[in-house]
């Protein structure tokens, strides 16, 4: 365990140093990250105003709170491994990673954490600006606010596990971009990023109940923006744990099979 902690410390240090080279990218990221919620809030606030101030229990400041919360959760849980993996496999970059005495997933986790730590001031600034510009109204109870952080951590673990597994598809397929793009769209709609899930048509809502996506974004976001009943909180945590266990099993299986298929090219 202490060994692993040392590995993480070193990985974090290198990853932060690496990322600091690309400071201009931070500004781009700031605009990209702020624009999405700003557009969503504007669209749905307009809908609410057209419908007499409220739809489905959301008024403009409720929408603002919801979309700021999803932005925060999305920032905390987002990964981009599945965009990098196909290059890693194709160009043989994977071979040196495999030679190291630790599982390569740890390097990826550390890299993501480093990025998120670096982005923290940016995301804080964006949150503040959006909050003021759209008069967001957060109304969670202290109890559901207290459950927010554990839910966020589980959401990150779940999303990371699933997306790392998805990334492993690159062992079998050479062209994964379309699959990745489809995945991103599905997550956009079914995780609650684009709209509160109660706005989806009924059949889709029924499907989302059986999928892991809402536990990655919508669940923590609702804990932060409006709060949830204690029953919903318990259901949420159970679902997160269950999906996480399933995901870990799937990851293990795919990883072992993928490794057998992997034959390094170049490197």
């Amino acid at each position: 365990m202490t060994h692993l902690i040392a590995v993480y410390r070193q990985q974090l240090k290198t990853a932060i140093a690496e990322q600091l080279q690309y400071r201009a990218a931070l500004v781009i990221w700031l605009i990209e990250v702020a624009l999405g919620p700003a557009v969503s809030i504007s669209v749905w606030s307009t809908v609410a105003r057209n419908e007499g101030g409220e739809v489905n229990g959301y008024n403009p400041s409720g929408f603002a709170a919801y979309f700021i919360a999803t932005m925060l959760v999305n920032y905390a849980t987002q990964t981009w491994v599945f965009w990098e993996f196909s290059r890693r496999v194709r160009e043989g970059e994977f071979s040196p990673l495999l030679l190291r005495p630790v599982h390569p997933i740890h390097a990826d986790i550390a890299q993501h954490l480093a990025y998120k730590i670096l982005m923290l001031p940016v995301i804080g600034l964006v949150t503040l600006l959006l909050w003021l510009a759209f008069h967001a109204g957060f109304t969670p109870s202290p109890a559901s606010l207290a459950t927010f952080l554990p839910a966020l951590l589980l959401a990150f673990a779940l999303r990371f596990t699933l997306e790392w597994t998805l990334a492993l598809l690159a062992f079998w397929l050479t062209q994964v971009n379309v699959i990745n793009q489809l995945y991103v769209v599905v997550v956009l709609f079914l995780s609650g990023q684009l709209l509160p899930l109660s706005f989806l048509p009924a059949p889709l809502q029924a499907i989302t109940a059986w999928l892991p996506f809402q536990w990655m974004v919508a669940f923590p976001a609702q804990l932060l923006s409006t709060g949830l009943s204690s029953q919903a909180v318990v259901t949420g945590f159970l679902a997160q744990l269950l999906w996480l266990l399933l995901g870990l099993g799937l990851l293990n299986l795919t990883w072992r099979r993928g490794l057998k298929r992997y034959t390094a090219v170049g490197g």
């Binding site: 201009a24 990218a25 500004v27 781009i28 605009i31 990209e32 624009l35 700003a38 557009v39 504007s42 669209v43 749905w44 307009t46 809908v47 057209n50 419908e51 739809v55 489905n56 510009a133 759209f134 062209q175 971009n177 379309v178 793009q181 489809l182 769209v185 956009l188 709609f189 684009l194 709209l195 706005f199 989806l200 048509p201």
Partner: protein, 262 residues
């Protein structure tokens, strides 16, 4: 003028020939464009299941707007962006020298030098969506509206072109301009909705800092009969001014350019 059209066609043909070697990417591009379009349509349908009009825009009118968004976006990504990205690269590496020595107008050459043929798909999809939305709305609009649409579409494209050229020309002084183009591309995404739904500050940015409003909302307004003469005249005037200003700026920058390769 005819020489320039022939030049454009030549560049286009070269790009097609180059791309035909990679036929698999045709299908990938189709899939990508369709996913993009499907996402936009799904979002619109969800929004309109909660309301009947978005700030006065009905569902078919909003589809018109999305059609314009794809049409203009496809054009930008097909001709303008690839050329400008390459220009920035050429300035950095000093290979712009070879362009400048060619016996044709350098601004024109850099503007059409690189064409991403596959983005033609977005243009076609956008047009199909436009026609579909108009049929749903109940037939083609009148000749005046069509004329206003054509004019504002052209003006919007010219404004965007001038703006991007202006940004790319800045690379004569600042080396890291490709990042600015990425910002422009992500700001363009806000154009899939009419700018009048945004709060004042954001609308101002999308109108005057990143002129997405002129490229998408104004042509869509022309087609859905909500454009006033004043806005039409203003848009055309702005397009002419923008083109002139970017041209002058380009000329000025070229004189400043001293070549890095030699």
């Amino acid at each position: 003028m005819r020489t320039y059209l022939r030049l454009l066609w030549t560049f286009f043909r070269i790009s097609i020939l180059g791309e035909l070697a990679y036929r698999a990417s045709f299908w990938l591009q189709i899939a990508e464009s369709l996913i993009d379009l499907g996402t936009a349509l799904a979002f619109v349908s969800v929004v309109f299941s909660s309301t009947r009009a978005l700030n006065g825009w009905s569902a078919d009118e909003l589809l018109t707007l999305i059609g314009v968004y794809f049409l203009i976006g496809g054009t930008i990504n097909m001709i303008i962006m690839p050329g400008m990205n390459r220009l920035i690269e050429q300035v950095r590496q000093g290979t712009l020298d070879y362009v400048l020595t060619r016996p044709a107008d350098a601004q024109l050459l850099v503007s059409i030098q690189q064409i991403d043929v596959w983005k033609l798909l977005d243009v076609v999809l956008g047009m199909a969506l436009l026609v579909g939305a108009m049929l749903w709305h109940g037939g083609l609009p009148g000749p005046f509206q069509l004329l206003a649409f054509a004019l504002t579409l052209l003006a919007g494209a010219v404004i965007i072109y001038s703006f991007v050229l202006f940004l790319a020309t800045l690379s004569f002084w600042y080396v890291r301009m490709e990042n600015i183009l990425v910002i422009f591309e992500s700001m363009y995404e806000a154009g899939r909705w009419p700018v009048d739904i945004y709060p004042g500050w954001l609308r101002a940015i999308l109108t005057f800092v990143v002129p997405v409003a002129f490229a998408v909302t104004v042509p869509a307004e022309a087609l859905t009969a909500r454009l006033t003469w004043l806005v039409l005249a203003g848009t055309l005037l702005l397009a002419a001014l923008a083109l002139l200003a970017s041209r002058l700026f380009w000329r000025f920058a070229i004189r400043y350019y001293s070549g890095a390769s030699a």
